[in-house]
C-alpha cells in the first residue's frame, strides 16, 4: 500500500511540471507550496519520500541538459524545498497527533455512550418491571375488593336467616313445637352453611396468597377418583341417580397434593349431584401422551354458554338464571380451578342446555409442580468448614447438624451455652449456629466471644420471631422450617472466604490451564467451565471472571450477559484476546489482556481481586 502511494505521488507531479511550463519556467516555484500542502494533508513520510526523489530527479535535469550553472540550479531548486518541507512534516505530525487524540476521545465517548445506553436499557427494563408490578398490584387490589364484597354478600344470606329465625323464636311464645323445631333446624343448617363458607373463604385466600402448604407427592389418581365416588354414592342413591364408573382398572400416577385433588373431585361430584334431578353421573379417567384427563359428567340442567367461564369465578352460582337454584356460595369451582392450576393443569366444562354438563380437568403426567427445594450440591466451598451447633433440645440440634453436614460442613454439637463457650474458645469454629437462646446473658457472652475471635453467629429463629431476632443483632438468621438453600445463602454471605475465587470460562483446556498456572493455583481457587450455563453464578459468586479467547463467537454474548446481569455486573471481568482483536471495544470491560502478555493477565487479575475485595 505504501509503495502505491509513493508512485502515485511521483506520477501526479509529472503533469504538474508540464502544466507549469517545464523545469526552466519561473512557475516552478509554485511546486513548493503545493508540496508543502500535500505533505501536511497526507501521510508526511510517504510524500516526503516521493518529493525528495522528485527533487533529486528534478535537480539532475540541468546537468543532463548541460546547463550553464548546474550547481546554482540545484541550490535554487533544493534549498527552498528543504526550508519548507521540514516544517511541513512537523505540522503534518502534529495534525496526526491531534487526529489520534480526537479519535481516542471519540472512542471514549462511544464507550460512555454505550455504557449510558446500557444503563438506559436497564432503567427502561426496571421501569417496565415496575409498571408491570404496579398493574399487578392494582389488579390484585381490585380482585380483593371484588372478593370482599362477594364474601360479605354471601355471608349475609345465612346470617340473615339465623338472625330472623332466632328473633322470631325469641319474640313469639305461642309457636307450636313443630314450627319451633323447623326454625331451630334452619338456624342450625344456616350456621353450618356459614361455617362451610368460612372454611371455603379461608381456603381460597390461602391458595390466592400462596399461603397453602402443598403436600406434593406421588398420587394415584385412580385411588383419588374412586374414593371420591365412594363418598358421594350414598347421596346419589338418596336422589335416585345412578353412577357410571368408567375408571380404567389400573393406576395412574402423577405428582400432586392428594387431599386437594380429592377436594376437586368431591366438588365436581357434588355439583353434578346438586344439579341433576334424574339420570346418571359418569366418572372417568383418560390418558394421553402428556397428561391425564379426568371427567365428571351429569344429565342435569346444563349450563348456559355464556356461563361456562363465569362459573369458575368466585361467587358465581350456576342457576342464577334458573328458579329454585341450589345453595352454595359459588366458591367450590373457583377453588377447584385454583387447585388444578397450581398443578399446572386445566379445568373446563362442556355442556348442552337441558342435557347435562361434563367437567374436565387435566393433570400433567410428569411435571414437578411446585418449586421443589433444589438439591444443593455440596460444593467444595464449605467442605470441612467447622460449625458449632448450640442447642439444648437434642432433636433440633440433630436436625441442624444433619442439615449442615449434608452441605459439607463439619459440625460439633453443644447442649449448653457454657459447653458451647468452651468449645468455641478451644476449637475456634468458622461459625456458631444457635437455637433460640433461653438465657440471654450467656448469649451476650457468646456475642462478645464472636466479636473478639471474629466468629460469625447465626441464630435459629421461628419466622414469627424474626422481629425479636433482629433486636439482638447477630450475623444472620436461619429460620424454621429449615431450607437448605436458605441456610446456604445465609452462611455464604457471612462466612469469610479463604481464597479468592476465579471463574475461567474457556473451551480450551490449555488456555484455561495457562491462566490457572499464571495466577497460582494455591493462591486462588479457580473454577473452569466451558460456558456460563455450567456454573451457578448466584451460588458461587466468583471474585473475577476470565473470559477466554477460545470462546470465539460466544465471547460477545457471554460478556453481554455478564454485564447486563444484576448479580454479575460488578464482578471484574478479564478478557483474553488475540492481538488482532485489539480494537474490540467491549462495554464495561474492566480490563483486557492480549494473547502475548500472559504476565499482564496475572497482574490484572490480582488487581481485579484486590478491587473486588474493596467493594
Amino acid at each position: 500500500m505504501k509503495k502505491f502511494y509513493f508512485y502515485f505521488a511521483l506520477l501526479s507531479l509529472i503533469p504538474f511540471i508540464f502544466f507549469t511550463g517545464g523545469v526552466e519556467s519561473p512557475m516552478r516555484f509554485l511546486y513548493y507550496p503545493i508540496m508543502v500542502l500535500l505533505i501536511a494533508v497526507f501521510d508526511s513520510k510517504t510524500l516526503l519520500q516521493a518529493s525528495l526523489t522528485f527533487s533529486i530527479v528534478y535537480c539532475l535535469i540541468p546537468f543532463a541538459r548541460g546547463s550553464e550553472y548546474p550547481f546554482y540550479t540545484v541550490i535554487i531548486n533544493v534549498l527552498p524545498f528543504l526550508l519548507t518541507a521540514i516544517p511541513a512534516g512537523r505540522i503534518s505530525d502534529m495534525l496526526k497527533q491531534e487526529r489520534d487524540s480526537l479519535r481516542k476521545t471519540t472512542d471514549t465517548f462511544h464507550g460512555v455512550t454505550n455504557t449510558l445506553n446500557l444503563q438506559i436499557m436497564n432503567l427502561q427494563s426496571k421501569i417496565d418491571a415496575l409498571s408491570e408490578t404496579c398493574n399487578r398490584l392494582k389488579e390484585l387490589s381490585e380482585n380483593r375488593i371484588r372478593f370482599i364484597s362477594g364474601v360479605s354478600h354471601e355471608i349475609r344470606s345465612p346470617l340473615s336467616s339465623i338472625r330472623s329465625f332466632s328473633e322470631i323464636l325469641l319474640n313469639y311464645d305461642d309457636i307450636d313445637e313443630k314450627t319451633r323445631r323447623e326454625f331451630l333446624n334452619i338456624i342450625n343448617e344456616e350456621s353450618e352453611r356459614l361455617t362451610d363458607l368460612t372454611n371455603e373463604i379461608l381456603d381460597i385466600v390461602a391458595i390466592e396468597f400462596g399461603k397453602i402448604q402443598w403436600q406434593m407427592d406421588e398420587v394415584d389418581m385412580t385411588d383419588v377418583v374412586e374414593s371420591a365416588v365412594a363418598t358421594i354414592i350414598p347421596l346419589t342413591k338418596n336422589k335416585g341417580l345412578s353412577v357410571e364408573n368408567n375408571i380404567p382398572q389400573r393406576h395412574f400416577f402423577i405428582r400432586g397434593d392428594k387431599n386437594r385433588l380429592f377436594q376437586v373431585m368431591l366438588n365436581l361430584l357434588s355439583n353434578a349431584l346438586k344439579f341433576t334431578s334424574q339420570g346418571k353421573i359418569s366418572v372417568g379417567i383418560e390418558e394421553s401422551a402428556d397428561d391425564l384427563k379426568v371427567y365428571v359428567s351429569d344429565t342435569g340442567e346444563g349450563i348456559y354458554p355464556e356461563e361456562k367461564d363465569k362459573i369458575f369465578e368466585e361467587f358465581y352460582r350456576i342457576g342464577d338464571g334458573l328458579a329454585g337454584r341450589p345453595k352454595g356460595a359459588g366458591i367450590g369451582l373457583s377453588i377447584s380451578k385454583k387447585i388444578i392450576e397450581a398443578h399446572k393443569g386445566r379445568i373446563w366444562v362442556e355442556s348442552q342446555l337441558g342435557k347435562g354438563s361434563t367437567f374436565f380437568f387435566t393433570l400433567p403426567k410428569e411435571e414437578i409442580i411446585l418449586p421443589k427445594v433444589e438439591d444443593v450440591d455440596t460444593g467444595a466451598d464449605f467442605h470441612g468448614r467447622h460449625i458449632l451447633v448450640l442447642e439444648n433440645y437434642k432433636p433440633l440440634r440433630q436436625v441442624l447438624r444433619v442439615a449442615l453436614e449434608t452441605l459439607g460442613f463439619k459440625t460439633t454439637g453443644a447442649e449448653s451455652t457454657k459447653q458451647g463457650l468452651d468449645i468455641a474458645k478451644m476449637d475456634k469454629p468458622d461459625a456458631i449456629v444457635i437455637g433460640y437462646p433461653k438465657n440471654e446473658d450467656y448469649f451476650g457472652e457468646l456475642r462478645i466471644l464472636s466479636r473478639i475471635q471474629g466468629i460469625p453467629l447465626f441464630l435459629v429463629i421461628v419466622i414469627d420471631d424474626e422481629q425479636r431476632g433482629f433486636q439482638i443483632a447477630v450475623n444472620g438468621y436461619i429460620s424454621k422450617p429449615f431450607d437448605k438453600n436458605q441456610i446456604l445463602s445465609t452462611l455464604e454471605q457471612v462466612l469469610p472466604r479463604k481464597r479468592g475465587k476465579i471463574l475461567i470460562i474457556s473451551h480450551d483446556n490449555e488456555e484455561a490451564r495457562n491462566v490457572q498456572l499464571l495466577i497460582g493455583i494455591h493462591e486462588y481457587e479457580t473454577i473452569i467451565v466451558p460456558d456460563l450455563y455450567s456454573h451457578n453464578l448466584t451460588r458461587h459468586m466468583p471474585d473475577v471472571i476470565v473470559v477466554g479467547i477460545s470462546l470465539s463467537d460466544e465471547v460477545y454474548s457471554t460478556i453481554r450477559f455478564l454485564r447486563s446481569n444484576q448479580t454479575t455486573v460488578k464482578i471484574p471481568l478479564l478478557l483474553i484476546l488475540n492481538s488482532s482483536q485489539r480494537d474490540i471495544n467491549y462495554i464495561g470491560l474492566n480490563s483486557s489482556a492480549y494473547g502475548s502478555g500472559l504476565k499482564k493477565i496475572a497482574e490484572k487479575m490480582k488487581e481485579g481481586i484486590f478491587s473486588s475485595a474493596n467493594h
Binding site: S160, I168, I186
Partner: protein
C-alpha cells in the same frame, strides 16, 4: 291483599311470611321477577318486599315496571337486598323504590315498618 314478598331464598320467604301472617296480614310469595309482576297486577298488594337479585327479571326492572303501571304504581315498594351499597340505592331510587332494607334484617323492625306504612295509607 296486604303484602307481596319477592325473594328466591326460601328462608327469607318463610321468615317474613311467618311474621306477617302472625301479625294478621295477608301475604303472597313470588320467587322470580315474572311471578312478581304477575302477582302484583293480579293481587294489587299494598306493600311489596322486593329482592334485587332474583331470577328472570331483576329487582330494578320489576320495580320500574310496577311504578310505571298506573294500576299498581301506588303500591309501596321496599327493596330488600343483601347489597347495601350506594350505587344500588341510587338505581333503586331511580327505579322508583320507596324504601330500602338491608339484609340481614330484623323481622320485628320490618313489622313495625309495615304497620307504619299501612297506617299512613
Amino acid at each position: 291483599m296486604d303484602i307481596l314478598i319477592v325473594d328466591d331464598e326460601p328462608y327469607i320467604q318463610r321468615s317474613l311470611s311467618f311474621v306477617f301472617r302472625k301479625e294478621g296480614f295477608a301475604v303472597e310469595i313470588a320467587s322470580n321477577g315474572e311471578e312478581a309482576l304477575r302477582k302484583a297486577k293480579e293481587l294489587k298488594p299494598k306493600i311489596i318486599f322486593l329482592d334485587l337479585m332474583i331470577p328472570k327479571i331483576n329487582g330494578f326492572d320489576v320495580c320500574k315496571a310496577i311504578k310505571s303501571d298506573k294500576e299498581i304504581s301506588g303500591c309501596y315498594v321496599i327493596i330488600l337486598t343483601a347489597k347495601g351499597q350506594e350505587v344500588d340505592k341510587e338505581r333503586g331510587l331511580q327505579a322508583g323504590a320507596d324504601e330500602f332494607i338491608t339484609k340481614p334484617f330484623s323481622p320485628m323492625e320490618i313489622i313495625s315498618r309495615v304497620r307504619d306504612v299501612l297506617q299512613v295509607k
